[in-house]
Symmetry: C2
Subunit: 126 residues, 2 copies
Amino acid sequence: MVTKQYKGSPEEADLTRADSLAREIFSDVANKWALLIIEALGERTLRFGEVRDEVDGISHKMLTQNLRMLERNGLVERNVHPTVPPRVEYTLTGPGQGLRETVSGMCDWTHRHLGHIEDARRRFDT
Amino acid sequence: MVTKQYKGSPEEADLTRADSLAREIFSDVANKWALLIIEALGERTLRFGEVRDEVDGISHKMLTQNLRMLERNGLVERNVHPTVPPRVEYTLTGPGQGLRETVSGMCDWTHRHLGHIEDARRRFDT
DNA sequence: CCGGATCCTTGCCGATACTG
DNA sequence: CAGTATCGGCAAGGATCCGG
């Protein structure tokens, strides 16, 4: 479980540690920009600017910030070509690909239910 | 695609509309609290307080806020029993269940890669 | 037990400017 | 082209109180 924390009993000590780590990772990854970046990378490798073009509306700052975070967690690999002008490429790692599949699932789900959601909203907004 | 917006050409007008709607939904749903609530609900129906107990660390305010949002988008159903004290139950709808499956995928992924991520972090933090 | 409203703090995020 | 740093506004979110 990611939702619940176990407290108290000593033999569950590493369970709580694993859980709080899980929660931390989840908090990192389960945000709009991170997920959109992962989806954008897909199976290709993209340059910094290319990712920015794919992920509509993201700012320079948020992009670097999230890319760093994803790199730190071993989800994307960062390759710097020491040319001029610099060329920096980002690729999903193996685990990153795994996560991407679930993210793609979310995207698919979103598109499949656009209609249902639009209806639900209209009903709710009255 | 959820990441990219099409601009300009008129025949893509409804595509851009669908896309911006998709982006809006994605922004709603792809946040830590919403996903944790969905995962907590699972296939059971829970009372307000029970959800709060499951989703560790969520505040009263965030919980109501996100439950409203999920209800508005037709992902959870809200049932009020006019008793005293009041009893309010929340259940995932059909589409909500569909989304939940992908969320569970994310949770599973997180747990499967705890080790990898911990290692990656240690390497990065040096 | 729930939900809404209000205040108040925190930190997210965009804008800008500067380095390599 | 890519990254870092700084600043400032504004919205997210926590604490609390009251009302059904």
